[in-house]
Protein backbone atom coordinates (compact mmCIF):
# COMPACT_ATOMS: atom_id res chain seq x y z
CA UNK A 1 0.00 0.00 0.00
CA UNK A 2 1.41 3.34 -1.09
CA UNK A 3 0.58 5.75 1.73
CA UNK A 4 1.81 8.83 -0.10
CA UNK A 5 0.76 9.41 -3.70
CA UNK A 6 2.75 11.94 -5.66
CA UNK A 7 1.60 13.55 -8.88
CA UNK A 8 2.48 14.03 -11.57
CA UNK A 9 5.01 11.22 -11.83
CA UNK A 10 6.92 13.03 -14.58
CA UNK A 11 6.98 16.70 -15.55
CA UNK A 12 8.92 18.39 -18.33
CA UNK A 13 8.66 22.17 -18.64
CA UNK A 14 10.44 25.11 -20.20
CA UNK A 15 12.64 27.42 -18.20
CA UNK A 16 10.61 30.27 -16.70
CA UNK A 17 7.36 28.32 -16.32
CA UNK A 18 5.60 27.73 -13.02
CA UNK A 19 4.65 24.31 -11.74
CA UNK A 20 2.99 22.55 -8.83
CA UNK A 21 3.52 19.00 -7.65
CA UNK A 22 1.31 17.23 -5.17
CA UNK A 23 1.65 14.74 -2.35
CA UNK A 24 -1.60 13.17 -1.18
CA UNK A 25 -2.61 10.61 1.41
CA UNK A 26 -5.67 9.30 3.19
CA UNK A 27 -3.61 9.20 6.38
CA UNK A 28 -2.80 12.03 8.77
CA UNK A 29 0.86 12.86 9.29
CA UNK A 30 2.44 14.70 12.19
CA UNK A 31 4.89 16.27 9.77
CA UNK A 32 5.76 16.11 6.13
CA UNK A 33 9.02 16.72 4.34
CA UNK A 34 10.10 17.50 0.80
CA UNK A 35 13.42 16.32 -0.61
CA UNK A 36 15.18 16.84 -3.93
CA UNK A 37 17.35 14.05 -5.29
CA UNK A 38 19.73 14.54 -8.20
CA UNK A 39 21.07 11.64 -10.28
CA UNK A 40 23.76 9.69 -8.46
CA UNK A 41 23.14 11.49 -5.19
CA UNK A 42 21.11 10.97 -2.05
CA UNK A 43 17.98 13.01 -1.26
CA UNK A 44 18.55 16.46 0.21
CA UNK A 45 16.00 17.85 2.66
CA UNK A 46 14.32 21.04 1.43
CA UNK A 47 11.71 21.69 4.09
CA UNK A 48 9.70 20.20 6.94
CA UNK A 49 6.09 21.30 7.56
CA UNK A 50 4.39 20.40 10.81
CA UNK A 51 1.28 22.55 11.22
CA UNK A 52 -1.93 22.13 9.21
CA UNK A 53 -2.24 24.99 6.73
CA UNK A 54 1.40 25.93 7.11
CA UNK A 55 3.10 27.64 4.19
CA UNK A 56 6.88 27.86 3.88
CA UNK A 57 8.89 29.61 1.22
CA UNK A 58 12.40 28.80 0.09
CA UNK A 59 13.39 31.32 -2.59
CA UNK A 60 11.25 30.33 -5.60
CA UNK A 61 9.80 27.25 -3.89
CA UNK A 62 6.56 27.43 -1.87
CA UNK A 63 5.51 24.49 0.27
CA UNK A 64 2.06 24.07 1.77
CA UNK A 65 0.76 21.53 4.28
CA UNK A 66 -2.95 20.77 3.99
CA UNK A 67 -5.27 21.86 6.79
CA UNK A 68 -6.02 18.24 7.65
CA UNK A 69 -2.31 17.29 7.46
CA UNK A 70 -3.03 14.65 4.82
CA UNK A 71 -1.57 16.38 1.80
CA UNK A 72 1.04 18.85 0.66
CA UNK A 73 2.04 20.77 -2.42
CA UNK A 74 5.24 22.23 -3.79
CA UNK A 75 5.02 25.20 -6.14
CA UNK A 76 8.02 26.40 -8.11
CA UNK A 77 7.95 29.85 -9.66
CA UNK A 78 9.98 30.62 -12.78
CA UNK A 79 11.61 27.20 -12.94
CA UNK A 80 15.29 26.99 -13.83
CA UNK A 81 17.35 24.10 -15.23
CA UNK A 82 18.97 23.79 -11.81
CA UNK A 83 15.58 22.76 -10.40
CA UNK A 84 15.76 19.53 -12.39
CA UNK A 85 15.61 16.45 -10.18
CA UNK A 86 13.43 13.97 -8.35
CA UNK A 87 11.17 15.61 -5.76
CA UNK A 88 10.20 13.28 -2.93
CA UNK A 89 7.72 13.86 -0.15
CA UNK A 90 8.05 11.92 3.09
CA UNK A 91 5.62 11.73 5.97
CA UNK A 92 6.09 11.03 9.65
CA UNK A 93 3.15 9.29 11.32
CA UNK A 94 4.14 10.60 14.75
CA UNK A 95 6.78 12.72 16.42
CA UNK A 96 8.72 9.73 17.67
CA UNK A 97 10.98 7.27 15.94
CA UNK A 98 8.54 5.65 13.51
CA UNK A 99 10.08 5.46 10.04
CA UNK A 100 9.47 8.11 7.43
CA UNK A 101 7.20 7.00 4.58
CA UNK A 102 8.34 8.20 1.17
CA UNK A 103 6.29 8.75 -1.95
CA UNK A 104 7.54 7.58 -5.33
CA UNK A 105 8.52 11.07 -6.33
CA UNK A 106 7.95 13.50 -9.17
CA UNK A 107 10.72 13.60 -11.75
CA UNK A 108 11.07 17.21 -12.97
CA UNK A 109 12.98 18.24 -16.05
CA UNK A 110 13.41 21.96 -16.75
CA UNK A 111 14.57 22.64 -20.29
CA UNK A 112 16.58 25.75 -21.05
Amino acid sequence: TQLLEQSPQFLSIQEGENLTVYCNSSSVFSSLQWYRQEPGEGPVLLVTVVTGGEVKKLKRLTFQFGDARKDSSLHITAAQPGDTGLYLCAGARDSGNTPLVFGKGTRLSVIA
Partner: protein, 114 residues
Amino acid sequence: EAGVAQSPRYKIIEKRQSVAFWCNPISGHATLYWYQQILGQGPKLLIQFQNNGVVDDSQLPKDRFSAERLKGVDSTLKIQPAKLEDSAVYLCASSLVRQTRTQYFGPGTRLLVL
Protein backbone atom coordinates in the same frame (compact mmCIF):
# COMPACT_ATOMS: atom_id res chain seq x y z
CA GLU B 1 31.38 19.48 7.85
CA ALA B 2 31.88 16.17 6.07
CA GLY B 3 28.73 14.47 4.89
CA VAL B 4 27.67 10.84 5.03
CA ALA B 5 30.20 8.67 3.22
CA GLN B 6 29.33 5.43 1.45
CA SER B 7 31.34 2.87 -0.46
CA PRO B 8 31.48 1.42 -2.95
CA ARG B 9 29.51 3.75 -5.21
CA TYR B 10 28.72 1.00 -7.70
CA LYS B 11 28.69 -2.77 -7.51
CA ILE B 12 27.79 -5.42 -10.06
CA ILE B 13 27.43 -9.02 -8.91
CA GLU B 14 25.78 -12.20 -10.06
CA LYS B 15 22.77 -13.64 -8.29
CA ARG B 16 23.55 -15.83 -5.31
CA GLN B 17 26.78 -13.90 -4.65
CA SER B 18 27.35 -11.88 -1.49
CA VAL B 19 27.92 -8.15 -1.24
CA ALA B 20 28.61 -5.66 1.54
CA PHE B 21 28.16 -1.91 1.71
CA TRP B 22 29.83 0.48 4.11
CA CYS B 23 28.59 3.74 5.63
CA ASN B 24 30.31 6.37 7.74
CA PRO B 25 27.76 8.82 9.18
CA ILE B 26 28.25 12.46 10.04
CA SER B 27 30.36 12.83 13.16
CA GLY B 28 28.21 12.99 16.26
CA HIS B 29 25.10 11.53 14.63
CA ALA B 30 23.97 8.67 16.83
CA THR B 31 21.13 7.57 14.59
CA LEU B 32 21.90 5.75 11.33
CA TYR B 33 19.52 4.47 8.68
CA TRP B 34 19.81 2.13 5.71
CA TYR B 35 17.28 2.60 2.91
CA GLN B 36 16.64 0.67 -0.29
CA GLN B 37 15.56 2.71 -3.31
CA ILE B 38 14.38 0.65 -6.25
CA LEU B 39 14.26 2.42 -9.62
CA GLY B 40 11.10 4.52 -9.84
CA GLN B 41 10.36 4.25 -6.13
CA GLY B 42 11.01 6.33 -3.07
CA PRO B 43 13.45 5.13 -0.41
CA LYS B 44 12.23 2.33 1.85
CA LEU B 45 13.72 2.00 5.33
CA LEU B 46 15.51 -1.29 5.92
CA ILE B 47 16.99 -0.71 9.35
CA GLN B 48 17.50 2.09 11.88
CA PHE B 49 20.23 2.12 14.52
CA GLN B 50 20.65 4.34 17.55
CA ASN B 51 24.29 4.06 18.56
CA ASN B 52 24.94 0.33 18.18
CA GLY B 53 21.37 -0.80 18.96
CA VAL B 54 18.63 -1.59 16.46
CA VAL B 55 15.57 0.69 16.71
CA ASP B 56 13.60 -0.70 13.76
CA ASP B 57 14.35 -3.55 11.38
CA SER B 58 10.80 -4.56 10.59
CA GLN B 59 11.29 -4.17 6.83
CA LEU B 60 14.67 -5.88 6.63
CA PRO B 61 14.50 -9.24 4.79
CA LYS B 62 16.39 -11.05 7.51
CA ASP B 63 16.79 -14.29 5.57
CA ARG B 64 19.34 -12.59 3.33
CA PHE B 65 20.05 -9.09 4.65
CA SER B 66 22.06 -8.26 7.74
CA ALA B 67 23.44 -5.04 9.15
CA GLU B 68 25.68 -4.12 12.02
CA ARG B 69 27.03 -1.04 13.74
CA LEU B 70 29.37 -2.60 16.25
CA LYS B 71 31.06 0.52 17.63
CA GLY B 72 28.13 2.87 17.15
CA VAL B 73 29.79 4.76 14.29
CA ASP B 74 30.38 3.02 10.95
CA SER B 75 27.88 0.50 9.66
CA THR B 76 27.86 -2.31 7.13
CA LEU B 77 24.92 -3.77 5.27
CA LYS B 78 25.31 -7.25 3.79
CA ILE B 79 23.25 -9.23 1.32
CA GLN B 80 23.85 -12.97 1.18
CA PRO B 81 22.83 -14.43 -1.24
CA ALA B 82 21.73 -11.68 -3.59
CA LYS B 83 18.66 -11.97 -5.81
CA LEU B 84 17.83 -10.12 -9.01
CA GLU B 85 15.20 -8.05 -7.20
CA ASP B 86 17.87 -6.67 -4.87
CA SER B 87 19.08 -4.41 -7.68
CA ALA B 88 18.61 -0.93 -6.26
CA VAL B 89 20.38 2.04 -4.73
CA TYR B 90 21.23 1.52 -1.08
CA LEU B 91 21.19 4.80 0.80
CA CYS B 92 22.66 5.46 4.20
CA ALA B 93 21.45 8.41 6.25
CA SER B 94 22.23 9.77 9.69
CA SER B 95 20.68 12.18 12.15
CA LEU B 96 21.02 13.52 15.65
CA VAL B 97 19.07 11.55 18.23
CA ARG B 98 16.78 14.48 19.01
CA GLN B 99 16.27 15.44 15.36
CA THR B 100 15.39 12.17 13.68
CA ARG B 101 13.24 14.00 11.13
CA THR B 102 16.30 15.84 9.81
CA GLN B 103 18.19 13.08 8.06
CA TYR B 104 21.30 13.57 5.96
CA PHE B 105 21.73 11.10 3.13
CA GLY B 106 24.88 9.74 1.59
CA PRO B 107 25.30 9.39 -2.19
CA GLY B 108 24.23 5.75 -2.14
CA THR B 109 25.62 2.51 -3.52
CA ARG B 110 24.09 1.43 -6.81
CA LEU B 111 23.82 -2.38 -6.91
CA LEU B 112 23.12 -4.37 -10.03
CA VAL B 113 22.47 -8.09 -9.65
CA LEU B 114 22.77 -10.08 -12.88
